[in-house]
Subunit: 166 residues, 2 copies
Amino acid sequence: MSDFVHERHKPPRQLDRPRELVLVCAPMRSNVNLSRIARAAGCCGLTRLICCGPGRLDRKIARDAADTLEIESHRTLEPVLKKLRDDGFRLVGLEQTSHSHDLHQYKFERRTALVIGNERTGLTDDSLALLDDVVEIPVWGLPYSYNVATATAMALYEYCRQFPAG
Amino acid sequence: MSDFVHERHKPPRQLDRPRELVLVCAPMRSNVNLSRIARAAGCCGLTRLICCGPGRLDRKIARDAADTLEIESHRTLEPVLKKLRDDGFRLVGLEQTSHSHDLHQYKFERRTALVIGNERTGLTDDSLALLDDVVEIPVWGLPYSYNVATATAMALYEYCRQFPAG
């Protein structure tokens, strides 16, 4: 007899306070990636997802997160970043750049906007110029780059690890 | 001018020694999930992926990982787990169960087989009975469960965070 008995879809953790992490997506190529990111964000207890460009959620993939997340759509990213900066969010991009911090060592501020770039082109130079920090996830093997939704999941995990109660 | 200059697909980190983490997948419903898991495993520097059941990799999704990973296919999971146990691997399932460890606190052994269950049904009771530990990822919101490839990415990230050099 196993010690381990299934408890799938057990009740979620309660946060002591609402998450102040906002997820911001540049215009994406794939609604599948955007929808996978939304599902992960919902599971992590985020309340705001900002989507730039024409991308739309696929509810079969995003599941309930499509309803529980406050989803804001904007045409372009830069004005969104400026508004978030004015609202006191630290703007943290997820990208391989010349001055990226290793996500393993990076200490998130609680009030953070995590900025996700396009699958192919990443974040534009204009967007990068607005960021306070950029984090990247170490890669040890081929294909040398994580899928954007996979990398976002890892960054969400690291933030939640640092702020398990919100 | 931005401090942050794109360095996409920069050369990967070097491991001091090969990873001893083996990823083991129960029969999956979706080759897309299996292929996304393979891509993430390749990026994390894993060398072995064991796939049970009829699942096959989609190379458009798995990318180079389909070639660089040593991929072993088996009909059923239990004999694979017994062999890995005999080979000295700690068998760690990723599942919500009655005695799961919180992934945030779990200390991986270097020589670990991370066992991933089916999207819908998870790991069978017979498989759970063979495991040394089960880990689960905290969930704070709807839809109350991570996509299997998303959860696997988070677990791979946590293992690599604990063993950045292999």
